[in-house]
């Protein structure tokens, strides 16, 4: 048996790296989060799904509308809405489903760390935790903003060119540019909202279901309930309020204007992120 009672004291301490500066390096944290998000396949698949679904459904709707333009029965509502609120019509088709891909991406940014255990490595490197969350949110927001901007403009030009022989809608049409920018911002914020839910729930399936429940299911159920209270809950609901940002102009029946709607949605998202940060900072990893 080899038992060494006591190691000889080291002759000289090895040269250690110089004392690091007493603050987190934000460029470093941002770079690290960017490396994380770009180095897993789910990111590119989510973004691809987002583009394909959004552009595909929009092109489909535009084609159907264009073909049936003069038929008295088909698509009357959509034709009317193209005059009153063109941006909601154009973006509604592709993005109501396409946003799900951004939600999945947002959820995965958090839950994949927990389900794989990578969170332990991450928190060993950034033990104060909140800077990691902030860097993650910033990187996701920029990525979503770029992806949404590209896709929203692509959808706009595809849709309007298919329908152009019947109705002319340009970015110069009053309210259209505002609705377009509003739509891009909504899509960016929904990604952060989903990320916060992911951080609160920590399981991918549970978090995605919760986001679907909040974004898609709850508004439908709320609409079924009559009365002004339910109507206000509906109007202030995160996804409902947020999607007002994509309207060309304020529509009758809204309880909020488009920008107010986006503001309310941002408040919801900030609240979710604060809750996520509190849980992240206090729970065991």
């Amino acid at each position: 048996m080899t038992v060494t009672p006591q190691a000889a004291p080291p002759p000289q301490a090895a040269p250690y790296p110089p004392q690091a500066p007493a603050h987190d390096s934000w460029p470093g944290l941002l770079r690290a989060e960017w490396t994380k998000i770009r180095s897993v396949r789910s990111t590119i698949w989510s973004l691809l799904a987002f583009v394909v679904v959004a552009v595909g459904f929009s092109a489909l709707l535009a084609t159907v509308l264009s073909n049936d333009w003069n038929s008295p029965s088909g698509g009357v509502g959509a034709r009317v809405q193209l005059h009153t609120d063109p941006t909601s019509t154009i973006y509604g088709a592709g993005f109501s489903l396409g946003q799900l891909a951004l939600c999945v991406l947002g959820v995965l940014v958090m839950t994949s760390e927990y389900t794989t255990g990578a969170i332990r490595s991450s928190l060993l490197a950034v033990p104060r935790r909140l800077p990691m969350l902030a860097a993650k949110g910033a990187v996701l927001a920029v990525l979503d903003l770029i992806a949404s901007a590209v896709t929203v403009f692509a959808v706009f030009f595809v849709f309007t060119s298919i329908i152009s022989s019947h109705i002319s809608i340009t970015l110069g049409t009053p309210g259209v540019l505002r609705g377009t920018i509003g739509g891009i911002l909504y899509l960016t914020v929904i990604g952060l909202f989903a990320m916060a839910i992911g951080g609160l729930i920590r399981h991918t399936a549970g978090a995605v279901s919760t986001v679907i429940g909040i974004v898609f299911v709850a508004p439908i159920l709320l609409q079924l309930i009559p009365g002004t209270i339910a109507n206000h809950i509906y109007g202030y609901w995160p996804s409902v309020a947020g999607q007002l940002a994509g309207q060309t102009t304020e529509q009758p029946g809204n309880v909020l204007s488009p920008w107010e709607g986006l503001g309310v949605f941002c408040l919801w998202t900030v609240a979710a992120l604060v809750a996520c940060g509190a849980v992240l900072a206090h729970r065991d990893a």
């Binding site: 048996m1 080899t2 038992v3 060494t4 009672p5 006591q6 190691a7 004291p9 080291p10 000289q12 301490a13 090895a14 250690y16 790296p17 690091a20 500066p21 007493a22 603050h23 987190d24 390096s25 470093g28 944290l29 770079r31 690290a32 490396t35 994380k36 180095s39 897993v40 396949r41 789910s42 994949s112 760390e113 794989t116 255990g117 990578a118 969170i119 332990r120 490595s121 991450s122 928190l123 060993l124 490197a125 950034v126 033990p127 104060r128 206090h282 065991d284 990893a285």
Partner: protein, 324 residues
């Protein structure tokens, strides 16, 4: 406030999971310049203690510091502390290089450092492969690479031998000794005494979350050495009575020839009574003895003895009350 660089200090460290106390008022220090083994049976609380030191879990009470600072107070902590934890800590879809690159970027370390540690652990050839396909041993090497990334002066390694082949285990041992010789703090856990006996200079031993011993490995070995005697006799029942009446403690020998094969008489292990006294007692009662051997217990035995009361599921039930 800072303390001696590289010194790990746990003070009254306690962690509860619901009703269960995983770590129970642990107080110990781990000094630089030697390998300190963290020994305890499975479920003793070693991994939990490691997570508490690294700030991954919050203590229910007490503190853990490294160089006088809580882990959370360290800036760019990987430059001070390298940790290999028990549980997986890697995204399987990410390549080994990207995994390390992420960590390097958070610490302001150059990307070239990633290749250095990949070379160090021999993973350069598979650096671009997704880690999901790695064997247990490769995963362990990647963990060691991550721990070494910031050239830290303190290393925490939770069961580093897990999943490594014998050659890998030898490599890790040599490596840890070398790190300690360079003046670094090396704190390595294991539930295997055999591993610790060839590796650790000093031991922190726990059972059921409580401190059992904090002493040099050699001292740990000696603690109960005088009191263990192997006795072989045809009439073990009489012998057992006699020794017990005289204040000794008897258990069946659990060695390979306990049943007394090849016509040999069955063997007992006596503690709390030395060999001369056993011989005298036997002679006074005219009892035949075939063997009377004082034994230096293996580290494993010393460990089982000291932790007998704290083994979780009573694996050590063969140990019959070797009190104190």
């Amino acid at each position: 406030m800072t303390g001696p660089p590289g010194l790990i200090e746990a003070r009254e460290l306690t962690k509860r999971f619901g009703d269960k106390i995983a770590v129970d008022h642990l107080t110990f220090t781990v000094a630089p310049g030697r390998v300190t083994g963290f020994l305890g049976p499975n479920g003793a609380g070693k991994s939990t203690t490691m997570r508490l030191i690294c700030g991954l879990d919050r203590p229910s009470a007490g503190t853990a510091t490294i160089g006088g600072l809580a882990y959370r107070e360290l800036r760019r902590p990987l430059r001070t502390v390298g940790a290999l934890l028990e549980a997986k800590a890697v995204h399987p879809g990410r390549s080994a290089r990207n995994h390390l690159l992420v960590l390097a970027q958070t610490q302001g370390l150059p990307a070239s450092r990633v290749d250095e540690v990949l070379d160090l652990v021999g993973l350069r050839d598979v650096a671009g492969k997704r880690t999901g396909g790695f064997s247990l041993g490769m995963g362990q090497r990647l963990g060691i690479a991550a721990a070494m990334l910031g050239d830290p002066r303190v290393l925490l390694l939770d069961e580093p031998g897990n999943g490594l082949d014998p050659e890998g285990i030898r490599w890790v041992r040599t490596f840890m000794r070398q790190l300690a010789a360079e003046g670094r703090t090396v704190f390595v856990s294991s539930h295997l005494m055999s591993e610790m006996s060839v590796l650790a200079d000093h031991l922190v031993v726990i059972g059921r979350g409580r401190l059992i011993a904090d002493c040099p490995t050699s001292e740990f070995l000696q603690r109960s050495s005088e009191r263990s005697v192997l006795v072989r006799a045809p009439d073990t029942a009489r012998l057992r009575e006699l020794v017990t009446a005289g204040g000794g403690t008897v258990r069946d020998d659990d060695g390979p020839d306990r049943a007394g094969g090849n016509g040999a008489a069955p063997a007992l292990v006596v503690t709390g009574m030395d060999a001369p006294r056993i011989g005298e007692l036997a002679a006074s009662e005219r009892l035949v003895l075939h063997e009377l051997t004082p034994r230096l217990p293996s580290l494993e035995e010393a460990f089982m003895e000291l932790t007998a009361g704290s083994v979780e599921f009573g694996q050590a039930s063969q140990q019959v009350g070797s009190a104190s």
